[in-house]
């Protein structure tokens, strides 16, 4: 941090990067065990009626191109490792939006043997969008909240997670 503050160009560059990120967040979508209900609503959010693209959001096929992971579902045993792998493949800084009640706290599937508790147990989540399934408006609101958060410079869940062990040691 001290290096950056001593270099005036670095802070300008950071500001520029953040500005660019807010105006064109690319998302990737992964279904980690949901019933498809949230997934079709995410797709509906991207299509002409709701048109999330007006916020600069673009759905991306590859995790390596994405800033935001939109993730649905209660994370099944089989998809847990895949979810982690997709998250790790994304370049930092990265953000996660968990969509749906089952991604928030397993929802209707609570007690089923093949699921984890929530997406938050597997990867750090920035924004939860509850609902079964949440309406497209709710998903847009969730993404808008995330963009607000990035704009305000608040630490992302990824950064908080990275700082956690250091805080314990200190």
């Amino acid at each position: 941090m001290s290096d950056q503050s001593s270099n005036p160009l670095a802070s300008v560059m950071d500001g520029l990067k953040s500005w660019a990120r807010i105006n064109s967040p690319w998302v990737i979508h992964y279904n980690s065990g949901s019933c498809n209900g949230c997934d079709i609503e995410i797709l509906a959010t991207l299509t002409p009626r709701y048109d999330l693209e007006r916020l600069g959001v673009k759905l991306q096929g590859s995790p390596r191109h994405a800033d935001i992971l939109i993730c649905t579902g209660p994370v099944t045993r089989q998809s847990k490792e895949r979810l982690k792998r997709i998250y790790e493949q994304m370049p930092s800084p990265k953000f996660v939006v968990a969509v749906g009640s089952c991604g928030t706290a397993s929802g209707a599937f609570r007690g089923c043997y093949n699921i984890c508790e929530s997406i938050g147990d597997v990867i750090p989540v920035d924004v939860y969008v509850p609902g079964c399934a949440p309406r497209p408006e709710a998903i847009i609101y969730g993404v808008a909240q995330l963009l607000e958060m990035i704009k305000s410079g608040a630490p992302s869940a990824e950064m908080r997670k990275a700082e956690e062990p250091a805080a314990v040691e200190g």
Binding site: T76, R77, Q78, K80, G111, Y113, N114
Partner: protein, 157 residues
Amino acid sequence: MNTEELLQQAEELLKPWAKEVSRPEDNRLDVRIEREDLLAAVDALILKAHRGYLAAITGLDHPEDEQVELVYTFPDMAALVNLRVSVPYADAQVPTLCDLIPSATLYERELMEMFGVTVVGTPDPARLLLSDDWPEGVYPLRKSFTGFDQLETESES
């Protein structure tokens, strides 16, 4: 042909192997057979007489008898023919239907991992639904399996 006639015809076809025949519902015929006769019965019903298609293989666990019961359902229009085969835990094996009905492969893979019934000769015995790290010998749809927590504590101990 109406449902009644279809069921009567199916009953006639399955007679050589039937150990027990019942009509629990208007449109359903339950025929209990030995597992050795399964292929012959399916061959007679589906391939020779073209009566219906394989809709599902349902597993039922009977812990009190230490048995797994398999229900092969063959619908034809509104008529339903169930072939029921029971296999003991100690010798949980059935022959594959895939030589007669290729589409049985997915149902058989499901059966193998969910109930621990070995389907002898099934073309692809790989796991279909359970995760790669699922412990061997744990079959989730048996009544003795009661959940994730039990699984965790067992693997820890």
